[in-house]
């Protein structure tokens, strides 16, 4: 089987058997897709309503990816640490890197399921998207950046917050607050200028805007997130957060005192 497959299988099973994980990562974003689709579209023309629903579905998909990386991943790691599994693993002839890869692949598989479910519900609620195949491929790239940035933040949380509930609450708190102030849950144009600046810098919200821009339309993104400098910033910061999270996790979580 190998260490990566073993860790992947174990982590996926733990994710799908925990009701709180399923709720926060799949049910909660779907509830907001439903609320958003039927409450906030007012008396706008039908086409605008459909595209607005599309933008809402994308935002909630991003929220699901954020929750998975920033709350589920640290919750899972903290749980393993709290119950002594990390201690047990440290006594075994195994590699922290393979453990990490197994966890990340499990998170990727679970996040894909949750993101697809959220978008599917949005689609059933009348969300409309407009894209070419190339734009769809580019959007997938930005989804991947959101995934790795969230996982990086999740690994940082799991390294420094030792207890399960603390790690989960910190992750959920960070997800909700950062999504609210960065334009993931609020239209970019409604944000004050200082938060607009933050929205462009925070890699998750800038990637969210890029996906909206690509799949729904430029007017729903609020600014051009696909300028070369903006793409470079989003890409660099996403990779940086991931690298810092990965190094911190593998050095500190597995450190022998």
């Amino acid at each position: 089987m190998g260490q990566i497959t073993a860790t992947l299988t174990k982590t996926i099973k733990e994710f799908i058997r925990q009701k709180s994980v399923l709720f926060w990562t799949i049910v909660w974003p779907i509830i907001w897709v439903l609320i958003g689709s039927f409450s906030y579209t007012g008396n706008a023309p039908a086409e605008v309503v459909s595209y607005t629903r599309g933008a809402i579905a994308i935002s909630m998909m991003v929220f699901a990816l954020m929750t998975a990386g920033m709350a589920n991943l640290p919750g899972n790691i903290a749980q393993d640490r709290e119950r002594g599994l990390l201690t047990k693993l440290m006594s075994m002839p195994i590699s922290p890197w393979r453990d990490f890869v197994g966890r990340i692949l499990a998170l990727l598989a679970f996040s894909s399921v949750s993101a697809t479910s959220v978008v599917l519900v949005g689609f059933l609620c009348g969300a409309r998207f407009s894209y070419t195949l190339i734009e769809f491929g580019q959007a997938l790239g930005f989804i991947l950046l959101i995934f790795i940035a969230s996982a990086g933040i999740g690994m940082l949380i799991s390294t420094f917050i030792k207890h399960v509930h603390g790690a989960i609450m910190t992750g959920v708190g960070l997800t909700v607050v950062s999504a609210a102030v960065s334009g993931v849950m609020t239209p970019y144009t409604y944000l004050p200028s200082i938060l607009q600046q933050f929205a462009k810098t925070y890699p998750i919200s800038s990637a969210n805007s890029a996906i909206t821009y690509l799949l729904v339309g430029s007017e729903y993104a609020g600014y051009n997130p696909l300028s070369p400098s903006q793409i470079a910033l989003t890409l660099t910061l996403s990779l940086l957060v991931f690298a810092v999270g990965l190094i911190t996790y593998s050095k500190l979580c597995w450190r022998k005192d």
Binding site: Q3, G84, S91, M92
Partner: protein, 308 residues
């Protein structure tokens, strides 16, 4: 070659020295129990041997190698319940089989064997949340029974188990002992330590005595102990009992006290009378052979575990 050879091991956390120049040799195939109260340094010592912690100074070898390079033969069961309650017993063991590099087919076969060996075949597909404390501990011990493990380090495996589960668990350890596996049992329970071929008594970061259980008892000079169950426990009762005890030391237990007294027949009626005089009824009193807890108490004047 020694299974474990530790020389002058010292471990400091900040200024606090939790291990003080510990030297310990455990022969291959030996069943060694390390017994001491909470905070005596047992778990720290075990975790250094299991390559989970590093010593501040000193030398440690497992089968002639650094613990880090001997991980493939060390099976460590930490004190905590590390199995995943979200998975079934079988899934937990398959996870460990995967970590150890077994193919899917081989993992299935070995895991089924291990489940049978620890008596969990019938409950293999139940989630661990449905397991009792004893079942869970047996499952966790199964994680160190994969082929090739030569040294088992078990940290307080019977803590929290009911008497029946504890007996089953100890029976399993006895079977392992017959297989020439080296076992290091960390415990604060004298009856568990008595199963070992050698016992090290640990207090305040040092091994204060080490021998086979019978020799430790003989060396302590204790011949008999009076076990007394009383209706009340108080300083007044202890003061009375001190008068009957060698070196005036009295060990408090869950239900009363233990008094170290050479002449049980003579002292028993006197003890009952004296306690009665201060309003304390004796519900049970009997002479017993000393336990390892008594030996530890006699050496340190500290109980191995706090009386409840």
């Amino acid at each position: 070659m020694y299974a474990i050879s530790a020389e002058n091991l010292t471990k400091k956390y900040g200024e606090k020295e939790v291990l003080k120049d510990v030297t310990l040799k455990i022969e291959e195939g030996e069943f060694y129990a390390l017994m001491g109260p909470n905070g005596s340094g047992k778990t720290t010592l075990a975790s250094i041997m299991a390559s989970v912690r590093l010593p501040t100074r000193g030398k440690i070898e497992v089968f002639g190698k650094q613990p880090e390079t001997a991980k493939n033969v060390i099976g460590y069961v930490p004190q905590e319940n590390f199995s995943s309650s979200m998975l079934t017993g079988k899934e937990n063991l398959l996870y460990f089989a995967g970590l150890l590099g077994y193919s899917k087919k081989a993992a299935e076969r070995i895991v089924d064997e291990l489940l049978h060996r620890v008596g969990l075949s019938d409950d293999a597909n139940k989630r661990v949340t449905a397991y009792s404390g004893g079942m869970r501990k047996r499952l966790e011990v199964a994680t160190v029974l994969f082929p090739g493990m030569k040294l088992l380090i078990l940290d307080e495996p019977t803590t929290g188990l009911d008497p029946s589960a504890r007996r089953k668990f100890l029976g399993m350890l006895q079977e392992l002992r017959g297989e020439k596996t080296t076992i290091l049992l960390i415990t604060h329970i004298g009856a568990d330590a008595e199963l070992a071929s050698r016992v090290g008594l640990m207090d305040d970061g040092e091994i204060i005595a080490e021998d086979d259980p019978e020799s430790l008892k003989k060396a302590s000079g204790l011949e008999t102990v009076i076990n007394i169950e009383t209706t009340v426990k108080s300083d007044k009762v202890v003061a009375v009992l001190r008068e009957f005890s060698e070196r005036q030391i009295v060990l408090e237990t869950d239900v009363g006290y233990r008094v170290f007294c050479p002449d049980v027949d003579e002292a028993t009626p006197e003890i009952v009378r004296s306690l009665d005089a201060i309003g304390c009824s004796v519900t049970k009193i009997e002479g017993e052979t000393p336990s390892l807890e008594d030996v530890f108490f006699q050496l340190t004047e500290k109980p191995v575990s706090e009386a409840g």
